[in-house]
Amino acid sequence: MALQITPPDELWWLTFNQFLIGALVLGTFVSLVFAYFAIRYWEKRVKPNEAEVVLGPGKVAPGTSKIGWTRYTLVVTGIIVTLLILATFPRTDYVEASPPETDLVIWVTAFQFGWEFEYPNGKKVVNTLVLPTDTVVEFKVVSRDVFHAFGIPEIKGAKIDAIPGILNSLWVKTPSDPGELNVVCYELCGVGHSLMVGKIKVVSPEEFQAFLQSS
């Protein structure tokens, strides 16, 4: 069991929180400036000598080119946004590559309207997958008919398109406690799309071995 491997969803939360802080800081700053101007220059508050009204009836707005201190804001926000994206790339590489160590490979075939799972030993199940706890699982995802998207809502970032003729893969680390996860289709695939829900039962490794050997 590969306990030292960082699960992709942990990296997802890390990245999300970084973006959230960036967005909140910049968004709050811009909103405060906006609110300040909106109140400060309201005609009922602004003193006559403070307002410089240059446009009015019978005029056309000129092409102003002064940019003043906004250029710095632009450079700063530009750098922040680009850095935020570039900073995600090493994590993206990690998440997108095959897992450092794979304990289990599951073949997933999406169809209208359900999921077929195949274990390495050839055992096939429909809609209910049993997985051991604390395990790195790689899903190999294909579709039998239309465009589906395989996703586990409980694990952030555990989602990949299931497209006919294309083999996509995705890896996750299962939770360390036994429990139940959902498998949900994230791309409208027809009349039964809403009901295309599978289950993942996360069980102890011993129970899993017993399940795998059962017929």
Binding site: E52, T73, T92, E154, G157, V184, S194
Partner: protein, 818 residues
């Protein structure tokens, strides 16, 4: 009774840009009510996920039609309704460049929308594949509904309407600005429309190409979107190449309106306007290289995804810039909080929320969780139903007095604003928290924790809807009971406020001129003649200033000669042909999937009769009128409006063929085996046709030359020769096709055959247009030979032939050689 008849007839035949603008707005509001009602229906289902209020197929239909109609038949059209009305006014033009084409755009838009509405009532019901119509669910193998066919036909028909519209606005903005209206002085709304049509021009052909391929799949049995070689990803690429620019197509006009409205009610010009324009231009270019961010989890190569991730992050910068410019416009202003200004100001925080969350989506690792969830729904609804729609409301309220001569109730507008702000945030903010919930599901038994958030969202939806009920009351109240507004109730800047409310058919009583220092003068034509335009612009000439008004003032000046002349010219401008052409197409398209040949023939007949009537009007010069003086400026100096229009149209055609060639390359690179064309096709026939086609263009060139030098005999001979060559090409093509079909190489035989027939077929359709144009030129030449003054018509037909040739130079090697 007869006054009612003439009233109806007026609206059916109008070609005036203001009338058509109103038609667009009213029609768009109707579609808004349809799509909004659908949204309320599925919000009710989502608040009660255990119920069977709107389950299964009906739910899918509701979300699909809601999305398609809101984006394509409401938001863009209502913006273009305002653009139809106000772009010519803002730049001092008398109408759009091609009024009948403008009417045709509108009628194609209306009937394409009705096609989608009708689809609810045909066997199988309306389209239900999601507004993105993903393949291969969109093929008849998985979605046999006839309503699906109608939806795709509607999209193709709308694309045609939009392409015509882009040509019209391009020429109008490029060629028809009032003297002195330099690029620098063009108002932001008009600028934003210019950028919007630049994006439309390149994006909609991709959608049309995708639609045409899908129709071939659905109606004639090809397998572009069903096969592994094309399939889901071919659709994804074509659709999102359209789909992402479309986002900015919907946003730009709204940002333009915000800029003009905020300038008006602060008395400040848009902060850093030139930089904002550069930003818009950058966003226009970037909008074409971000589409793969919709495909971050389809299995595209990681390097490609990273490149698109960076471009997506970069495209946020121009919009940050635009937002900052709007905010800084307030600086040192005197803000008057009228109803349009309140809506404009409310749009800005919504844009900050929608824009900031957009940056999250640019990160590949984050997008894996967002894709297909309510996070994305919340993000783009903050932009579309928030920023874009609030700006449209602001625009409607800003220009309502100009269109009707009446004021809206400020009190009702404020009630509406409060409801809208509460409603939209309650509606969409909880959806950010529904970050794991898939889109387009009507049940979620496995996640009861989503129910409360969904119920909050539904309550928000009804409050938001209530705000539009208030808006409707406000509009009707204003229309019937509003107090008279005068000509410039807001004390606003800009040309549109220097004419009566509502403006006369010819827009201005005199020629608007913008002076160097930004003053607007409405000058009688006679004064302009006497003093010279240049001197009026520089301010050297002494003109009696007219048209400059105080707030609540009235346009006092009346130039008798102009009011008379143009008023009459407009009275004769009505034409039934545009409406009949669109109606004919509607009838034919409704009948097509239903397999009703008789009805199809009737529709086609109606359409062709309308085209014939149109050509006949042209031939008789029924609508020709002298051009008023306009501003000529880089890069359009010395290029007449037909040429600008032709090249704009050709650019659109180029992207249509480009998309089809792109589909060819995509399919070919993914095909395991491909027979080189040289082994499959008869190169001799191909070469023969190449020579024929090139000679035809040459013959048109000769006809043009002989018209210029006045050699009537050679002019007619050249035209007859060009026509004969065009026909020869068509006959050779028909021979080739029938030979192939007889050999078993039919349309659906191989992937290669499908592409061959589709691309050469699309090309042959263009040759057919060339043949018809040449036939028209020949008949016209036999009756009235072209002379130096109108030889340019032949030049344009020649340019068209040249383009048909260039397309062929791509198609010939693709299928006959390599």
């Amino acid at each position: 009774m007869s006054s009612l008849r003439s009233w109806i007839l007026r609206w059916l035949t109008t070609t005036n840009h203001k009338d058509i603008g109103i038609l667009y707005m009213v029609t768009a509001m109707y579609f808004f009510l349809v799509a909004g009602t659908l949204a309320l229906l599925f919000r009710v289902q989502l608040a009660m996920p255990e119920s069977n209020f709107l389950p299964g197929k009906a739910f899918n239909q509701a979300v699909t039609v809601h999305g398609l109609v809101m984006l394509l038949w409401f938001l863009s059209p209502i913006q273009f309704g305002l653009a139809n009305y106000f772009v010519p006014l803002q730049i001092g033009a008398r109408d759009l460049a091609f009024p009948r084409l403008n009417a045709l755009s509108y009628w194609l838009y209306l009937f394409s929308g009705l096609l989608l509405i009708v689809s609810f009532f045909v066997p199988g019901g309306a389209v239900d594949g999601g507004w993105t119509l993903y393949a291969p669910l969109n093929t008849s193998a998985y979605s046999p509904s006839k309503g699906f066919d109608l939806a795709v036909l509607a999209i193709v028909m709308l694309s045609a309407a939009i392409t015509l519209g882009t040509v019209n606005f391009m020429v109008t903005i490029a060629k028809m600005r009032a003297p002195g209206m330099t690029w620098d002085k063009v108002p932001m709304f008009t600028w934003s429309i210019l950028f919007t049509i630049l994006m439309m021009l390149l994006a909609f052909p991709a959608l049309a190409a995708a639609g045409i391929l899908l129709l071939l799949d659905r109606l004639l049995g090809t397998t572009f979107f069903l096969s592994v070689e094309g399939g889901a990803l071919l659709w994804d690429h074509l659709f999102w190449f359209f789909g992402h620019p479309e986002v900015y197509i919907l946003l730009f006009p709204s940002l333009g309106m915000l800029a003009d409205i905020i300038s008006s009610f602060t008395g400040r010009p848009l902060y850093a306007k030139r930089f904002v324009l550069v930003a818009f231009m950058a966003a226009t270019v970037l909008s074409y290289i971000v589409w793969v961010h919709h495909m971050f989890i389809t299995g595209t190569s990681l390097l490609v995804r990273k490149i698109f991730s960076v471009t997506t992050a970069l495209i946020s910068i121009p919009f940050e810039m635009a937002t900052l410019a709007l905010i800084l416009t307030l600086y040192k202003g005197r803000i008057r909080y009228t109803s349009p200004m309140l809506f404009a100001m409310a749009a800005i925080p919504l844009f900050i929320i929608g824009g900031a969350t957009g940056v999250f989506n640019a990160a590949i690792i984050l997008d894996r969780a967002f894709r297909g969830t309510y996070w994305v729904v919340a993000h783009f609804h903050y932009i579309m139903a928030g920023t874009a729609l609030f700006a449209v409301i602001a625009g409607l309220y800003y220009w309502f007095p100009k269109m009707t001569g009446r004021m809206l109730s400020e009190k009702l507008a404020k009630i509406q604003l409060i409801l809208a702000v509460i409603g939209i945030n309650l509606l969409y903010f909880p959806q950010f928290l529904l970050i794991d919930m898939p889109r387009r599901i009507y049940r979620y038994d496995y996640a009861p924790e989503w129910i409360t958030l969904n119920q909050l969202s539904t309550i928000g939806a009804f409050i938001f809807a209530a705000s539009f009920v208030v808006a409707l009351i406000a509009l009707l109240h204003g229309l019937l009971r509003g107090r008279p507004s005068g000509d410039n109730p807001w004390g606003a800047w800009g040309l549109e406020w220097l004419t009566k409310s509502p403006p006369p058919p010819h827009n201005f009583d005199g020629q608007p001129v913008v002076t160097k220092d930004g003053r607007i003068l409405i000058v009688p034509e006679k004064t302009l003649e006497e003093q010279g335009v240049d001197k009026v612009i520089t301010g050297e000439a002494k003109v009696s200033v007219t048209g400059v008004m105080t707030p609540n003032g009235t346009a006092g000046h009346q130039s008798p000669s102009h009011a008379h002349g143009h008023g009459h010219a407009h009275a004769h401008h009505g034409s039934m042909a545009p409406m009949m052409l669109a109606l004919g197409m509607f009838v034919a398209f409704v009948a097509m999937p239903l397999g009703n040949t008789a009805l199809m023939a009737l529709g086609a007949l109606l359409a062709f009769a309308s085209i014939a009537k149109w050509v006949l009007d042209e031939y008789r010069g029924r609508f020709s009128e002298p051009e008023p003086r306009y501003r000529e400026e880089f890069p359009f100096v010395g290029i007449d409006k037909f040429k600008v229009g032709l090249w704009t149209f050709i650019a659109g055609e180029g992207f249509l063929f480009g998309s089809l060639v792109g589909a060819y390359i995509f399919i070919r690179t993914r095909s395991p085996a491909w027979t080189p064309g040289i082994e499959l096709h008869d190169v001799a026939i191909g070469l023969f046709n190449t020579v024929v086609l090139f000679t035809a263009a040459l013959a048109m060139g000769l006809a043009y030359y002989n018209a210029r030098v006045g050699n009537v005999g050679l002019q007619r001979a050249s035209l007859a020769f060009a026509l004969a060559l065009g026909l020869l090409f068509m006959f050779t093509k028909a021979y080739e096709w029938s030979k192939f079909a007889a050999e078993g190489y039919g349309l659906t035989s191989t992937m290669e055959a499908q592409l061959y027939y589709t691309l050469t077929g699309a090309h042959a359709a263009h040759v057919l247009v060339g043949v018809i144009a040449s036939l028209y030129a020949l008949v016209r030449s036999l009756r009235r030979p072209y002379g130096p003054q109108d030889a340019r018509t032949l030049l344009y037909i020649g340019i068209y032939w040249g383009i048909v040739d260039i397309v062929w130079t791509f198609i010939f090697p693709m299928f006959y050689l390599i």
